[in-house]
Amino acid sequence: MVHTVDHSAEPTSGSSSQHPYVPATDDDRAEMLSAIGVDRFEELIQDIPEHTRFPQLGIAEAAPELSLSADIAAMAARNVTPGDYACFLGAGAYRHFIPSTVNAILQRGEFVTAYTPYQPEAAQGTLQTGFEFQSAICQIFDMEVANAGMYDGPTAFAEAALMACRITRRNKVAVLDTADSRLVEVLRAYSVHQNIEIQTITPDAAVSDDIACIAFQSPNLYGVLEDVGGLTGRAHAAGALSIVHANPTAHGLFEPPGKYGVDIVTAEGQPLGVPLSFGGAYVGLFACRQEHIRQLPGRIIGRTTDTEGRTGYALTLQTREQHIRRERATSNICTSTQLIGLMVAVYVATLGKQGLKDVANLCYQKAHYAASEIAEIPGFSLPVEGTFFHEFALTCPRPVSEVNAALLEKGIIGGYDISDRIPDTMLICVTEMNSRAEIDKLVAALAEIGGAA
């Protein structure tokens, strides 16, 4: 038998006067006001201009958990959700397996509801976890040091370019045109009033010897590995730094940037155990060479000892930061996106040496299988040459919007539209989450859609 519950009724005045998140009763309030020495709350806010006090709000009355959770679940259910649909979207955010350990640790309120570890004695859990995060990032990229995390990948990339300008005391930033344009847009927003010139260059273009850095994405927008060593060599020959915006998963398989002498590595940390969540919250990864640590933006956790000689961890090199240096800080950032860093730390610990290799290999195998099958379909082609990891550009015989609309009807979320770069082209991403059955379904669907062209 089905019972229906009427959620529409307003709560009675008895239940609405005491909110579950606010413990003070009327008696508590009366007692405290009396101890303060006032008769009414209003006496405490006499500094607020009277005519502006207690404005009208258009917000509804409090919604109890039972009905509110049903309302919000209904909103969530209106979305087309990967998992229900086969999904081949990538381009900056990637759908990966998240082991159960990550969410289990994410339930620890001791991590979730702590704040920035300004009192290190009372925050060793957060600090040691952050140190694990920094260590893991250094090891994945083979870099000397990493900070505790940035907002997201693109802001880390922008901050890296600004850091290169500070280190070289130059103001020209060369960015390869194979990078996602969103990286360049964020860099533009970050540098617009800092007298910095952004030059977009092709991979084989000559660079002038007054640039601060060559910044590029590898794997690039098209999923293809750049010549990291060659570009780094050219940057160094110009007295500039090399900045690579990497994908951490790729380095379960491919040589890490540190191997090629890269100066700064940035990346989107989301692929390492963080749900897609419509684009956030994510964490930006930022690693560099030891010699540049005093120009690093963001929080850094260091190992030290207490007065009894025991190992402990604390925020360090804080004289770079805004709360000390104010307008002369290396950045205005005052977060490390620590909780997402925790997810990354647990993910890397869980996957470990073999697991990250396995994930990278599965991505490579499945993406290459998909690419080789789709390339056989008449009318479709792979327009970009080079070694790719888990994404590839696919030129379609019809406009991408039409292809994706037809795919959606077949339960498939298609690729990311890059027709502004290459006509009628989308970017297909395949990860370990895509079964062979899903890939085969995509191939069959594309054959059918292409045939209708």
Partner: protein, 486 residues
């Protein structure tokens, strides 16, 4: 929090030092596609130095680490300016719904109507609460919201061919992010002094505001926990000089349903959702710092902005947008939490949050003013700034008192901020703490004050019951040790 004195025996080894070759915490399925050609050998990595540990070890390691933390869930956390209020569990549950946690940021709006609708409704709610109806949820933290707000101010002046406005006026009591953000936005920072009563020195502001003023950045209530009584005059002075007024919304919790920033003459503000709107601080992020502006400035907002057309919702770029300040659409998971909170609180609940936050702070202030000096001896808003200057004369610093509180299971207040107060201890109890908790805190503070006379050394060397004693932070900075070393 483990308070027993077992720290000596506690196994603090790092994961790499626990690693045993061959162990694993998870297995991946074998490939189900025909084997593909691998790329040339020289591109492939031969060694990946990551830990090899069992699944139990992962869980036990991080679970034990979590117990070394103070947190809102386990401790009273009166950290001023941070609004460490209860983070409702429903918020997390809603953000974890597959229809939210599982959607891809590159899906077009027509596939994610529920998500974009939620963003649109949250924009409306924040616009209503602040009286500034133009809203972008894009900024990923308060500091990014500030930066976006300053770019908007610059874009506004540029649109009026008034580009000589390159000065940001900032009070000496401001958060460090204000001048840091202004510098990033290419503005020259000019400091506005505070008067002796803790308010903005209005005469000084009148002298400083001129044709070079781009923006005046003001935290309201101030970092002293005070409402500026001359606020209408202040915003008028800046407007008369042709500048805009920016509100740092760090302390917005005190104003919910009490006053709207737009009504007070502010043009731009940001709100830290992780403070006022109860989203978790996460040990230092992720935050979220939506930026709110007047109708006139809405066309400059960063992208995206959620717009509504009938029953259909779209993410779009405002006409003269300052552009893209991060990869996607903001901290969506945090936005879901804040939205859930606002609806759970409702109109009267939000107002009662502000009222009770203000009453709680004044209650603490009234009960401690005999033992501690006050930065300003008048009613405060949601936080009170105590000064340990009296205690310093007895040989004990504010820092020592903060550390001694930890021994009592209470997180320290914000120390030495604002910079203009000697030995500042900024206490923000929030509305979610009960009177019993406040009474306990008051009693402990008085006890520590007594202890400064009876046994100062115990206070000076605190904490004594935590996993570590005071750390050598100078050595950490001198010889940076920033990662596992094999």
């Amino acid at each position: 929090m483990t308070t027993s004195n077992t720290a000596n025996e506690l196994d603090r080894r790092l994961l790499m030092d626990r690693s045993v070759p061959g162990r694993t915490a998870v297995t991946l399925p074998p490939s189900d596609v025909p084997e593909q050609d691998m790329p040339q050998e020289s591109l492939l990595r031969d060694d990946l130095p990551l830990p090899e540990v069992s699944q139990l070890e992962v869980i036990r390691y991080f679970s034990l680490l979590s117990q070394l933390n103070f947190s809102i869930d386990t401790n009273f956390y009166p950290l001023g300016s941070c609004t460490m209020k209860y983070n409702p569990k429903l918020n997390d549950a809603m953000a974890s719904l597959p229809g939210f946690a599982g959607i891809h940021p590159n899906q077009p709006s027509d596939q994610v109507q529920g998500a974009v609708q939620l963003m649109h409704e949250l924009q409306e709610l924040l616009g209503d609460l602040t009286g500034l109806p133009g809203v972008s949820l894009a900024p990923l933290a308060g500091a990014q919201g500030e930066y976006a707000g300053l770019l908007i101010a610059r874009a506004y002046h540029a649109s009026r061919n008034d580009s000589a406005r390159t000065v940001a006026l900032i009070p000496d009591s401001a958060h460090g992010t204000n001048p840091a953000s202004a510098a990033m936005a290419g503005l020259e920072v000019v400091t506005v002094p505070s008067a002796s009563d803790g308010n903005v020195d209005v005469n000084a502001l009148r002298d400083l505001a001129d044709e070079r003023t781009a923006v005046f950045m003001l935290t309201l209530p101030s970092t002293l926990g005070l409402f500026e009584p001359s606020i209408l005059e202040i915003t008028q002075i800046v407007h008369d000089a042709g500048g805009l007024v920016y509100a740092d919304g760090a302390n917005l919790n005190a104003l919910l349903g009490i006053a709207k920033l737009g009504d007070l003459g502010f043009d731009i503000c940001h709100s830290n959702l992780h403070k006022t709107f109860s989203t978790p601080h996460g040990g230092g992020g992720p935050g979220s710092g939506p930026v709110m502006v007047t109708d006139e400035l809405a066309k400059f907002l960063p992208e995206p902005v959620a717009t509504r057309n009938g029953d259909s919702y779209t993410l779009s770029e405002p006409e003269s947008s300052i552009g893209k300040i991060n990869g996607f659409h903001g901290s969506f998971g945090i936005l879901v939490r804040a939205y859930t909170y606002i609806r759970a609180m409702g109109r009267d609940g939000l107002k009662s949050a502000a009222e009770n936050a203000i009453i709680n702070a004044n209650y603490i202030q009234s009960q401690l003013k005999d033992s501690f000096d006050l930065a300003a001896d008048r009613y405060c808003m949601h936080e009170t700034v105590l000064s340990a200057s009296r205690q310093k004369k007895r040989g004990v610093k504010g820092l020592d008192i903060a550390k001694r509180l930890l021994d009592h299971g209470i997180h320290a207040p914000t120390m030495y901020f604002p910079l203009i107060v000697d030995e500042a201890l900024m206490v923000e109890p929030t509305e979610t703490e009960s009177k019993e908790t406040l009474d306990h805190f008051i009693e402990v503070m008085r006890q520590i004050d007594d202890e400064i006379t009876s046994d100062p050394e115990t206070v000076q060397t605190a904490p004594h019951t935590l996993p570590v004693t005071r750390l050598d932070e100078a050595a950490a900075a001198r010889k940076p040790y920033l990662r596992w070393q094999g």
